[in-house]
């Protein structure tokens, strides 16, 4: 073994770089991409600032919570939502990329639903926004399909064995939203008050009881 062996070569530099340069900081890598985009006349990254602002301000779990609360107070809406999610969600004004083919799965006393994307990070943007880091990280993606009960117990929602767990791996175009059960003793609450009870985690399915 000599220092010229390629044990440390990560495969990008064959033919040169016997002493690879130190890794560039991530901020500098982002700046390099921005400069290429401008100088090669691909597009000015600032042109899509409005898309980023939508992720920050107008998309998020508050939208999904409105869908859930409506389904709790309006049985006909619930029926439409479960039969064909996309148009029912559009009734409340939500739709667009990563929400064009929505399927809503309902929790019941007998069934619990859990959503994952094992291959990447598919997530229903219009109703939940961008996914949290853990949803995109290997621990969740690897375990949700293999040991969903162990995962749910660790995350605070242990399931009795007589409750079936249904895992939905969003591997194609469909994006999923879990419809949690309405909590007991909420008959007096308004639709807005009900929406305030609904969490992002319940709509992904990692939280069973609200």
């Amino acid at each position: 073994m000599t220092e010229h062996d390629h044990d440390h070569d990560h495969g990008h530099d064959h033919g040169h770089a016997h002493h690879p340069a130190p890794l560039a900081p991530i901020e500098a890598r982002v700046a390099a991409i921005e400069a290429v985009l401008r100088e090669a006349n691909v597009i000015d990254p600032e042109a899509v600032d409005s898309v980023i602002e939508m992720f920050e301000h107008t998309m998020g779990p508050m939208n999904g919570a409105k869908v859930v609360a409506r389904a709790w107070v309006d049985p006909e809406y619930r029926e439409r939502l479960l039969a064909d999610g996309t148009p029912a969600i559009a009734e409340l004004g939500f739709g667009g990329p990563e929400g064009d083919h929505m399927v809503v799965v309902a929790n019941t006393p007998e069934v619990h639903n859990l959503v994952v994307c094992t291959l990447c990070s598919c997530y229903p943007w219009p109703v939940l926004g961008l996914p949290p880091k853990w949803y995109k990280a290997p621990a969740y993606r690897s375990r949700a399909v293999r040991e969903p009960r162990a995962l749910l117990a660790e995350m605070g929602s242990p399931l009795p064995d007589d409750v079936e767990v249904r895992v939905w791996d969003s591997s194609a175009e469909v994006r999923y939203l879990v419809l949690p059960e309405r909590p007991p003793n909420t008959a007096d609450l308004s639709e807005e008050e009900l929406a305030a009870l609904v969490t992002r985690d319940a709509m992904i399915g990692v939280q069973r009881v609200l």
């Binding site: 290997p138 064995d161 194609a172």
Partner: protein, 206 residues
């Protein structure tokens, strides 16, 4: 490809670290990375499956050791190089250090034609076990496994073709339900089912 991104069922990653809440972008570079990625895919007309494949081709240790927005940075830069807008050397120079990129494409475009559904809800199917070198949305953990069609989702552009320059070819897609024991054998949890969205081309009658 049976890549490091195909995580379903792997052991060893430990507990899920899930804080109760977090900002949409934790740091400014993440926000700028998301913006640059959206700008690149829009500006160059890169279809989503192809962008996903640029991330799947990351060096495995880099993939597992970096956050999701670093994946986007790596896939975006790789796409810009592959589109001839920049080079490895140019990126290294601009970034002032090594800019790791993804490995080359190994997959080839398989001929595919638009098709009509061959299956209906309730049909028993087996997922083909062909383990392609290129992009696919058939996770390794269901290839070769038996399941039942539980939902027909209409025609969708076939990701495997679109990732490799085949354009938009509509094929049927379904939700397929698998028994936990079919996928995980003796390690399966009780009373559990996994559902995976699969294109018609992935399936054969069982």
């Amino acid at each position: 490809m049976d890549g490091v991104h195909d995580l379903g069922g792997l052991d060893g990653f430990g507990p899920v670290d899930a804080p109760k809440s977090e900002p949409v972008f934790a740091e400014d570079w993440e926000r700028r990375a998301a913006r640059a990625t959206i700008a690149t895919t829009l500006g160059l007309g890169i279809p989503t499956p192809r962008f996903r494949h640029s991330i799947e081709r990351m060096e495995p240790a880099h993939y597992l050791g970096s956050s999701y927005y670093e994946h986007w940075v790596t896939g975006t830069a790789t796409s810009l190089v592959e589109e001839g807008k920049t080079t490895q050397e140019d990126l290294d120079r601009r970034a002032g250090g090594h800019f790791p990129l993804s490995r080359p494409v190994r997959g080839v475009l398989e001929p595919v034609a638009p098709t009509q559904p061959r299956f209906v809800v309730g049909d028993a199917v087996r997922v083909r076990a062909w383990h392609p070198a290129g992009h696919t949305r058939a996770p390794r953990y269901v290839q070769g496994k038996h399941g039942v069609i539980v939902r027909y989702d209409g025609l969708h552009n076939f990701a495997d073709a679109e990732a490799h320059g085949g354009g938009q070819v509509p094929v049927p897609a379904y939700s397929v339900r698998f028994e936990a024991t079919e996928l995980w054998g003796e390690a399966a949890e009780p009373n559990a089912h996994m559902h995976v969205d699969l294109y018609d081309n992935y399936l054969e009658p069982a």
